[in-house]
């Protein structure tokens, strides 16, 4: 039965946005842990660890995110593991975010000049102290703008979770369209809601870019 697009539908869309946000945060947490590991391996002095990091990043980035979602949702169910959509999505997005965050953070770590390590070593700091007081604080400043930039990508990409039945903003849009048959109006609202999440972050990222204090 087709009905009118009502205020209630808009409200549902706004409420569905919270699942977009939740999935983004879950992916950031999982991806953050993986990313830290990958960054640490990628910036390590040990060849084996660097190779592992490169292989992980290469594999993940070489396969579409959608394929990862299918693997964890449909693929695992064939071999007997029926994951609920939100868990499959969290795993898929974490793997994906881990590769990108790992690369961003590795880049930030190795962007700090050797002379900074050396200056810290010269006043007697140990390796861990050099990292903690001199290198990581500077690397974080380098990493924040691209990390926030990646968050914007992540928010938009969570829409892919709709295809495995995770009801977030895009999926709610599909459902509303099916009920009201007003795709133009519905997807305009969906687009506006994504924009309202992403645009402030983009602005914030730009602002951060302008006021970081690092070696030039």
């Amino acid at each position: 039965m087709i009905r009118e697009l009502a205020f209630q539908d808009v409200l549902y869309l706004v409420l569905a946005m919270r699942w977009t946000i939740v999935l983004t945060l879950l992916a950031l947490s999982g991806g953050g842990v993986i990313g830290l590991l990958i960054a640490a391996c990628g910036a390590s002095r040990h060849v084996a660890l660097r190779t592992f990091a490169r292989a992980y990043v290469g594999t993940v980035q070489g396969i579409p995110l959608l394929a990862w979602l299918f693997i964890f949702y449909f693929g695992l169910s064939i071999v007997g593991y029926n994951l609920p959509p939100w868990i499959a999505a969290t795993i898929g997005f974490s793997i994906y975010a881990g590769a990108f965050l790992g690369e961003i953070w590795r880049g930030a770590l190795i962007s700090i000049p050797k002379t900074q390590w050396e200056a810290a070593l010269a006043i007697g700091l140990t390796y861990i102290e050099q990292l903690r007081y001199v290198i990581i604080p500077q690397a974080i400043r380098v990493a924040i703008p691209p990390t926030v930039g990646f968050m914007v990508q992540l928010i938009k990409n969570t829409s892919l979770a709709a295809v495995i039945g995770f009801v977030e903003l895009t999926r709610e849009g599909q459902l509303t369209t099916a009920a009201t048959f007003q795709p133009f109006a519905v997807y305009l609202i969906v687009a506006a809601l994504y924009f309202s999440l992403c645009y402030p972050l983009t602005r914030y990222s730009r602002a951060l870019e302008r006021k970081r204090r690092v070696v030039h």
Partner: protein
């Protein structure tokens, strides 16, 4: 044994030999200027003295510590041997004060209050007390280099190494840094400077060491050194830098 003693020191990067059987002795309170062409091993020599570069042969003794020994306590040594670099290398994310207090607080376990007092003290020595809350990018090159010197002084070193510390400065900023060095020399600090400032070397150093092809080619008291070079290599080097 001398305060600093290098015996047949060999330093290689892969197959490339940078230091070839270098011998050098430095007594407490001496001021040594090290000169030579780029690539002659001057900077490497300095960096071997506080263990920033491990050596492949020979012995490096600094104030009784065997720096060449892989099991040497270099952390403790580095607190006593300060080094200042050509490119200042201040920590850009920290204030001048924190740049200076970091070492004393972490390496020596000094309290924040004491370290802050110390920071003001050493900044006074380099004439930059008013910059204590500034960041590196708010300072001129000369000021950054003076802060870098203060940062080293805060560890109360007994030896200071200076690696071409005026080479990256605009000419009008060199003077203020050299003044700081002269004051330290008057205070009796043991200093080794790799430098291109020949006039400064002549005026302040007790002894000048000329490095060539990874060796100590010629050395002598500053006053005769420039006037009567003994080797052709030094003569040709001096004529290329002194006009």
């Amino acid at each position: 044994m001398s305060f600093i003693e290098l015996k047949s020191v060999v330093k290689r990067y892969g197959k490339h030999t940078v230091l070839q059987d270098v011998d050098l002795e430095v007594e407490k309170g001496e001021i040594i200027a090290i000169i030579g062409r780029s690539g002659s091993g001057k900077s490497t020599l300095l960096r071997c003295i506080n263990g920033l570069e491990p050596v492949q042969g020979g012995e490096v003794w600094v104030d009784g510590v065997a720096v060449h020994d892989p099991s040497a306590d270099l952390r403790e040594l580095r607190a006593r041997v300060g080094i200042v670099f050509q490119s200042f290398n201040l920590f850009p994310h920290l204030t001048v004060e924190r740049n200076i207090t970091l070492g004393p607080m972490i390496v020596k376990g000094m309290t924040a209050d004491k370290a802050a007092t110390l920071a003001r003290e050493v900044l006074k020595k380099v004439g930059l007390e008013e910059k204590i809350k500034a960041y590196a990018d708010e300072l001129s090159g000369g000021q950054q280099q003076r802060v870098a010197i203060a940062r080293s002084l805060a560890m109360s070193p007994s030896i200071m190494l200076f690696d071409e510390i005026t080479s990256a400065l605009d000419p009008e900023l060199v003077g203020e840094v050299l003044l700081v060095l002269e004051a330290m020399a008057r205070d009796g600090m043991t200093m080794l400077l790799v430098t291109h400032e020949m006039n400064f070397a002549r005026r302040v150093a007790n002894r000048v060491v000329f490095m060539n092809q990874g060796k100590v080619w010629e050395q002598g008291p500053a006053k005769d050194f420039f006037a009567s070079p003994k080797t052709d290599e030094l003569r040709s080097f001096l004529s290329s830098v002194l006009h």
